[in-house]
């Protein structure tokens, strides 16, 4: 399998040879940032189209088909439209916080996005506490949502913000616990380490029952964490019109929208990393020919494929289920998911210490 670090190392050496090291580092940062932001916006566009196609397919309709082949240019039209919309400023709002909020949300999602294991050797930084970092920065998003709801000076947005505060902070626990369960199995917090540990079998298959339980908990909690149906209470179109971003217009609204879709990719990517082996190809021990063929598929394709598959699962859930109510949502987390997750963590620890996993 092609190791992308060959390219990055060559670039690093070439730059360091040609210029002082501080300049080389700065230049590398710029290149990485540009590449990431480009990937970020392209993926966001793809995801919006992806959601439309999937949702149209589930709902027995054709989705956008008019603009370009299969409606693929629709999204460009939409982006241009949203860019040209007026940004409406309201009276009696805290303007600084009001304008800050969408950027906080986007920053949180870009930072988590940057940590994903894109492919073999394709990573921005590889810390030894990578997973911990992902969980930490993804929590900044809730701050943006709370600020958006609070600074808009509207009752609808306030209710939406309160809901999202309650929801995201609660479900962060479950996400954290299920991630910890998998860290326990992997024995490392480093993202590369976790992927490498799945070389001989993905954790979902390797980890017995506790891994499957953790996977289910993660899917439920990540859906909630992402404010997507059936947990889209902070937006709850039918109750709060648009929840915390009711008062936003133009590109500020677009930023929330962007972050929402990218967060969908991020949680799918993390699911792929923790449970489906990240960029690791599907290997079945004993089937050497099959394994060799699988190795020919580039690691980036593996990772994106897994992430898109997980996204499909999230979309499938979103378009099938009705929305839960706030008390039911909190009850689900505090009475069922979190205790289950804690017990599951203990079970996983027992499994790992006794070496009962494959």
């Amino acid at each position: 399998m092609f190791d992308f670090s060959i390219v990055t190392n060559w670039l690093n050496d070439a730059l360091n040879g040609a210029m002082p090291s501080w300049l080389a580092t700065t230049l590398e940062c710029v290149i990485v940032a540009v590449a990431l932001l480009l990937a970020y916006s392209l993926l966001a566009m793809f995801y919006i189209m992806y959601e439309r196609w999937v949702c149209g397919w589930i709902q027995c309709r054709r989705g956008p088909i008019r603009v370009g082949p299969w409606g693929s240019l629709q999204i460009f039209a939409d982006v241009f439209k949203i860019l040209t919309k007026e940004i409406i400023t309201l009276w009696h709002t805290d303007k600084f916080l009001f304008f800050l909020a969408p950027f906080l949300v986007v920053i949180a999602s870009v930072m988590t996005f940057a940590c994903l294991p894109w492919g073999k050797g394709m990573q921005v930084v590889d810390f030894n506490i990578g997973v911990f970092f992902i969980i930490a920065v993804s929590s900044i998003g809730v701050l943006g949502i709370l600020l958006a709801g609070w600074s808009s000076n509207s009752k609808y947005t306030l209710i939406g913000a309160m809901r999202s505060g309650a929801q995201m902070i609660s479900y962060e626990l479950s996400v954290g616990i299920s991630v910890l369960t998998m860290v326990c199995l992997a024995g490392t917090m480093s993202i590369t380490g976790i992927v490498e540990a799945q070389a001989d079998g993905w954790f979902l298959f390797k980890g017995h029952l506790p891994a499957i339980v953790a996977f289910i908990i993660y899917i439920v909690a990540a859906n909630a964490e992402n404010n997507r149906g059936p947990f889209d209470l902070p937006e709850a179109e039918h109750e709060l019109t648009a929840g915390y971003h009711t008062e936003y217009s133009g590109i500020h609204y677009g930023l929330f929208y962007l972050a929402e879709y990218l967060n969908l990719f991020v949680v799918s990517g993390i699911a792929a990393l923790l449970f489906l082996g990240g960029w690791m190809p599907l290997h079945i021990s004993g089937w050497d020919g099959f394994n060799a063929v699988m190795d020919y598929i580039p690691s980036l394709v593996w990772f994106l494929g897994k992430a898109f598959f997980m996204t499909f699962v999230f979309m499938w859930i979103r378009w099938s289920f009705p929305r839960v109510r706030i008390d039911q949502m909190l009850a689900l987390e505090w009475r069922y998911l979190m205790p289950m997750g804690l017990v599951n963590l203990v079970v996983m620890a027992v499994v790992v210490t006794n070496g009962w996993h494959f």
């Binding site: 589930i58 027995c60 709850a236 179109e237 019109t241 099938s320 109510r325 039911q328």
Partner: protein, 549 residues
């Protein structure tokens, strides 16, 4: 009827009776009215106020109260009037029948009749700064009095009660709608889940709803007022613009009422076609209601499923009537034209498809654990409350009220058909939802029988008898009710027997089911959550243009 007269005579001194019409008419003075109302409800079991029709008889102002005994399905109507045109006052019966609360507000709005002891004497439809009461015969239509107002409607922070003390002196007492420290949020008039321009001023405690103040009238078109300026055939088209999900049924009702007044006999085939259209309309309405209920709870896909099947029904309407909504198909004496040659085939096909897909609906939504948690036990409406608030239709039957007009007072050809009245006893949102789903099966059953009957009439294309070109009703009043998609729809016509060629109704009142339904929003939503408010209003399922007639 004679027996009933004796019983009523025993209840109050010197009532006047008139048993010439279809129902017994009792005329009482306002002074005796409240006592009689209590006695009628408690002793003679007239526990449902079906309709309250405000009237202006030129020499007097008053109301017609149509009462039903829900045990025996007996109907009487009571006339109460006052000759004081300057400051007309009647005693409120909102403490006897809860539905009178909104009904009396409507009468106050349009006739200026003040109801003594009414808890909330505000206008219901018109702006609070409106001058005059439009349905009065002496109403001044001068546009300078009521110009097009470009400023916002002031929020009504105060309401009033006209309290009568022991000496009979009436004083106005102001009170606040909401206290100062309440957190009041506006749901509507523009809101995705009010299904139209409806506004609930909702007092919240966190997520819990403490009180809902319904503000209505944003799309009121004054249909009753407009009808007074039109001939009878012209009034027909307005019926379809009230509950557009029961367009055929409403129009059928007005046709039946006019035919009853004129004594026209409708050809069997025409009546059969009308009945089939009614049932198709009911199917389409319940499909929409399924779609909206699921959508309001966030299950967007289920919404499309409902709409997919509804399309079949609209195609049938399109082919036969030439329009998909506002079909204008039934007419006085029959229907406009015979059905499309493929009508029976199309209806059978639609029945098969819908029957098959109903299972899918249940798989997708009814069995879903989230949907069940959201609906079971939410928005309870007991049988007594449903009768008190005159809740009819699927919502009433979900509370166990036997109120299907097709069974209680069979009209059209319904007594020839075999079908069940769907009843439930739970009275929660789930029951209301399930009653609709099961009613669709009954409608399909009726339609299949009707298809057989229609096929048996092959060759007979007689659908419209000769009716007079100029419809003139004799002096009198008539009331006709039918089972519309959302409850009992009633039409009240009063004619002064005007001999002029283009006779216009003296008064036409439409008793719409949704008007009563919106009356229970406050009752059912209290102490529930905001999300429940949406579920409850969706499960009660009212159509705003039907409230704002």
């Amino acid at each position: 009827m004679a027996e009933l007269k004796d019983k009523i005579s025993a209840l109050c001194p010197q009532p006047q009776f008139d048993s010439e019409g279809e129902f017994l008419l009792v005329t009482v003075d306002d002074a005796q009215w409240h006592a009689l109302a209590v006695a009628l409800k408690e002793q003679l079991h007239f526990d449902q106020l079906m309709a309250l029709v405000g009237m202006d008889w030129k020499d007097s102002l008053g109301c017609m109260y149509y009462l039903t005994n829900t045990a025996t399905q007996e109907i009487i109507h009571v006339k109460v009037a006052t000759t004081d045109r300057e400051k007309p006052m009647l005693h409120s019966v909102s403490d006897v029948w809860a539905v009178a609360n909104f009904q009396e507000r409507e009468a106050y709005d349009f006739f200026g009749i003040v109801f003594i002891n009414h808890p909330d004497m505000r206008r219901f439809f018109l702006r609070s700064d409106w001058v005059g009461h439009p349905l009065r015969k002496d109403y001044d239509e001068n546009p300078e009095l009521n110009p097009l107002r470009l400023d916002d409607e002031p929020n009504e922070d105060y309401t009033c009660t006209w309290v009568e003390d022991e000496n009979g002196k009436v004083t106005k007492v102001d009170k606040k709608v909401f206290e100062d420290d309440e957190y009041v949020i506006n749901i509507g008039p523009q809101h995705p889940s009010t299904h139209g321009v409806m506004r609930y001023r909702t007092s919240l405690d966190g997520e819990i709803v403490k009180k809902v103040d319904v503000v209505s009238g944003y799309i009121h078109r004054g249909i009753e007022k407009l009808c007074e300026g039109l001939t009878y055939p012209q009034t027909l088209l307005y019926t379809e613009r009230m509950d557009y999900m029961a367009a055929h049924i409403n129009r059928h009702c007005l046709c039946l009422c006019i035919e009853k007044a004129l004594g026209i006999e409708v050809p069997h085939r025409a009546e059969l076609i009308r009945l089939m259209m009614d049932e198709l309309m009911r199917l389409s309405s319940h499909l929409l209601s399924y779609g909206c209920l699921t959508m309001d709870q966030g299950a967007t896909t289920a919404f499309f499923y409902g709409f997919r099947e509804r399309e079949l029904i609209y195609d049938i309407f399109d082919r036969t009537c030439g329009a998909r909504m506002s079909m204008s198909y039934a007419t006085i004496g029959g229907v406009v034209a015979d059905v499309h040659p493929d009508f029976v085939k199309d209806v059978r096909h639609a029945c098969d498809v819908i029957e098959k897909n109903l299972k899918e609906y249940h798989q997708l939504f009814t069995g879903n654990v989230i949907a069940r948690n959201r609906m079971i036990g939410v928005g309870l409406l007991s049988r007594e409350q449903a009768i008190d608030y005159a809740i009819t239709g699927p919502s009433g039957r979900a509370s166990g009220v036997h109120c299907d007009v097709r069974k209680t007072h069979p009209y059209s050809l319904y007594d020839e058909f075999e079908f069940d009245e769907v009843l439930d006893t739970a009275g929660d949102s789930m029951a209301r939802y399930m009653v609709r789903m099961r009613e669709m099966e009954q409608s399909i059953k009726i339609l299949r029988q009707a298809c057989d009957k229609l096929e048996a009439e092959e060759g007979n294309e007689f659908v419209a008898p000769k009716v007079p070109k100029l419809i003139k009703l004799p002096a009198g009043h008539w009331y006709q009710q039918v089972e519309a998609s959302r409850g009992t729809f009633g039409v009240y016509i009063e004619s002064d027997g005007d001999p002029k060629p283009f006779q216009k109704p003296y008064r036409m009142h439409f008793q719409s089911p949704c008007f009563n339904l919106v009356g229970v929003v406050d009752l059912t939503c209290r102490d529930n959550m905001i999300a429940d408010l949406i579920t409850i209003t969706a499960s009660i399922d009212f159509v705003i243009p039907d409230i704002d007639r």
